[in-house]
């Protein structure tokens, strides 16, 4: 799942080395927290969050091994 998020985001940003994805497991869901370079924030959120929404749609569609809900937190 982490690999998927990184694959999606890497070509979108100017500073791929600053991409960080952390995973926190909670009771009912797994939260993935995505951070990018300050200058790239707009590139992963987009106008009206359009890019963020597309990223989430793809991530949520991917099947995961765990049976928990997945939540993607951006910045």
């Amino acid at each position: 799942m982490k690999a998927l998020i990184e694959t999606i985001v890497t070509p979108l940003v100017d500073f791929p080395e600053d991409i960080k994805v952390t995973e926190t497991e909670e009771e009912a869901k797994i939260v993935y927290h995505l951070t990018v370079n300050q200058q790239d924030v707009g590139k992963v959120i987009g106008k009206n969050g359009r890019i963020a929404k597309a990223i989430r749609t793809v991530v949520y569609a991917a099947k995961s091994d765990a049976k928990k809900r997945i939540y993607l937190d951006i910045m």
């Binding site: 998927l4 070509p11 979108l12 890019i51 597309a54 749609t57 793809v58 569609a61 991917a62």
Partner: protein, 204 residues
Amino acid sequence: MRQITASGQTVDEAVQSALEQLNTTRDQVEVEVIDEGKKGLLGVFGSKRAIVKVTILKNPIEEAEKYLKEVIRNMGVEAEITGSIEGNHITFDVTGEKIALLIGKRGQTLNALQYLTHLVINKDKKQYYTVTVDAEGYRARRKETLETLAIRMAEKALHLQKVVELEPMPAYERKIIHSVLQTRDDVSTYSDGVEPHRHIVIKP
């Protein structure tokens, strides 16, 4: 190596030499002439060699196909992708198992993939491409569904003599409905609302 500076008697020769060193062809590079060079007297005195800077261009289409492939693989789906270009429009056709997962409800996952691929392709902005990502003929099937829906909803509007609002759809899906009902003079269509809630309204 993506970029090289080369010299030669003439600009052409310099470019040729750079292409050989980069092991590529003229149509895959961008050439910047730094010095045009001078012939000089009798080709000996005061002659200056031509200097060019040659950069290999990234092929955005290959990049995009690789991107799409990687993303789909990381989603845990085995699929084949074939890309085709027509002018500045690129179509990627995805085939394989578990394709329903890639399409999603009303094609929302497919649309998200399409949008992300579009972003990757147009990142450098050298040339603008439009992208369609299709899966097992989904777009064609969807078009048919929308055409039937358009006609049915037009009948409903006429029958009730009331405006009928459809659910929000992306621009190219709205376009399909508009064009189906355009030729009819008993109903008119327009779009209302702001993206991403923009939807069609059919008026008798």
